[in-house]
Amino acid sequence: MSAAVQSGVRRTARGRGWARTGLWLAVAAVFLLLPHLFASGTGLTTMSLMAIMIIFALSYNMLLGQTGMLSFGHAVYYGLGGFLVVHAMNAIIGAHLPVPLVLLPLVGGAAGLFFGIIFGSVSTRRGGTAFAMISLGLGELVGASALILRDFFGGEDGITTNRTKLLHVAGLNFGPQLQVYYLIAGWCLLCMMAMYALTRTPFGRICNAVRDNPERAAFIGYNTQSVRFIAFCLAGLFAGIAGGLTAINFEIMNAANVGAAPSGIVLLMTYIGGVGNFAGPVIGAILITFLQVMLSDATEIWQLYLGLLFIVMVSFAPGGIAGLIAMHAPVWRARLLHRLAPAYALALLLGLVTFAGAALALEMAYRLSAGSEGGTAFRFLHVPVEAASAAPWSLAVLLAVPGFIGFRRVLPIVGNVWATTLAEARQGRGR
């Protein structure tokens, strides 16, 4: 390659470096400014939880998206990290040790790494289905142990602690949620940068190679088993930090934190956000945490909607939200996004009508079932509804059935508009 071309390459590389620095500064600024926009108690709690889940989901994607390892037991490292931090905090408080709270997530990271090494040495010997099954087994094992070993896990009540009793540095006692938010946000930024940097190392690249074609990776000198093992240990480390932050945030850990539920949620978040892109799990963590908080306020069967969303994403957008966004990048660059808007708006409208009908029917079915104790009268979108009457059922059918038929009719139109717009966008670039 000529010297001129090479220096050009170097210049673009340096340009990318600056762009990255700028991006991280922007993320830091967002973290700093958010509490001013959402200063309410709920706002701060939700954002703290989002930041924790960002770390957790990114650590999960080191396995799923980057190394091709489907784990059903990632909460083991998250939960154990959290428990170790709670116990460490109580020990520090008991012994009056001069350790500031800010450093406690390190204990969680160390615990996650430690258990990652222990369990990883067993589970990463094989990839694919064998790994997934072993991860499920280990998850069940630890989840069951948590209910049996009451001294360590505290049974169903859990173990509590008090984050304000640790050494106060610079006048911070971490009583107010705002201080805790900043502690979590700082760790989140640090972990995001570290995990992003890892994707750009030789290790990060070989993880992708092992994901794509483990057999070939072996023939270019890599022991796929040790690549999987290192990825697993590092994922455990970051999951442990997320768990430690959870312990600090809630001042309590219980057996549910190491169980199947958080293992499932982190899979949902990562997949819905998008496994093929570094930003995917971040988007997923923010969205799913938001839905968890908002939906659980609005309806008791919110998990059902979360499951539906997951199924829809797996079926129609396997690249997740980040994949959908990346798909539109060429159209956006060609400034043709407005061409798609009418078709998208129509599909969205019909989709929402269908969903409204289906959701109404689901909510009424739930009120009528034995599981509901609130009677058959409830409010749907602030409108009083009596589930035991015929009128709302007719409305649900009138919304859902035509809505669905219309939606199905519109889908091919959306597909056509998409195909022609994309073709034009690509042609425009070629010119």
Partner: protein, 253 residues
């Protein structure tokens, strides 16, 4: 080095009770271009799988540069300097062309699974990768996902992945299979160029390619080598002509 680069001794491989490789002895000198030919089902690919560690021999020894590698894992054999390509294209389809070649260079250049260095900053790794991309004529396609390349381009990438690690023994399994006439000519020139100064062992069906490239040819029939000699002598060998349907060897295209 004085001894052979690759040495097979009384090599056997059975699948269940079916013998596929039935006592192969072969010594390939350093720097030699060696072709293994034989009818379909003779065990050529199995032989490659044994040498490269994908399969473990039932009995016998394999030595690479004098060191016993029998039963070693593929990555161990690769680290000792043997690299192979595959008959069915075996690349990293979602990684870019550049990334495919770079990943294949990392271990041998000492970067292994480094957690501390950004790959973009490794100038020697980038230079080696770009050099090989130029050799295999894919420098213009460097940012495409490898999965979208044409068949011939993927075959070239397969060779690039194989040679970039700097292995001194290169195994190519039917490098020109499925290629058109002109693609084949291009591939032969490429193979000649990139295996300069290395030991090459290849399985090939195209007799034109074999007689063009090989210093020596071994003929494998039903898991045994019935002849191993220079192209001229192999062509003249009556046992080869009889076993190997004669015509193809007698009148190379």
């Amino acid at each position: 080095m004085t001894g052979p680069a690759l040495e097979l001794e009384a090599l056997h491989k059975n699948f269940g009770r079916v013998p596929i490789i039935r006592g192969v002895d072969l010594a390939i000198a350093a720097g030699e271009r060696h072709a293994v030919i034989g009818p379909n089902g003779a065990g050529k690919s199995t032989l490659f799988h044994l040498i490269s560690g994908r399969l473990v021999p039932s009995s016998g020894r394999i030595r690479l540069n004098g060191a016993d590698i029998t039963g070693h894992a593929p990555y161990e054999i690769n680290r000792r300097g043997l690299a192979r390509s595959f008959q069915v294209t075996n690349i990293f389809p979602r990684l870019s062309v550049f990334e495919n070649v770079r990943c294949a260079a990392m271990w041998s250049m000492g970067y292994r699974t480094s957690l501390w260095r950004a790959v973009e900053g490794l100038a020697d790794l980038t230079a080696r990768t770009e050099h090989v991309l130029e050799q295999i004529n894919l420098i213009d396609r460097r940012d495409l996902p490898a999965g979208v390349l044409t068949y011939a381009e993927q075959r070239a990438l397969e060779i690039g992945i194989t040679i970039v690690g700097g292995g001194d023994v290169i195994l190519l399994d039917e490098p020109t299979a499925g290629m058109s006439r002109s693609e084949t000519e291009h591939a032969v020139a490429l193979i000649r160029k990139v295996t300069e100064g290395r030991t090459l062992v290849m399985v090939e069906h195209d007799m034109g390619v074999v007689f063009d490239l090989a210093d020596r040819i071994s003929v494998l029939v039903y898991g045994q080598i019935i002849a191993s000699d220079t192209p001229e002598r192999v062509r003249a060998n009556p046992a080869v002509q009889e076993a190997y349907l004669g015509t193809a060897v007698a009148t190379p295209a």
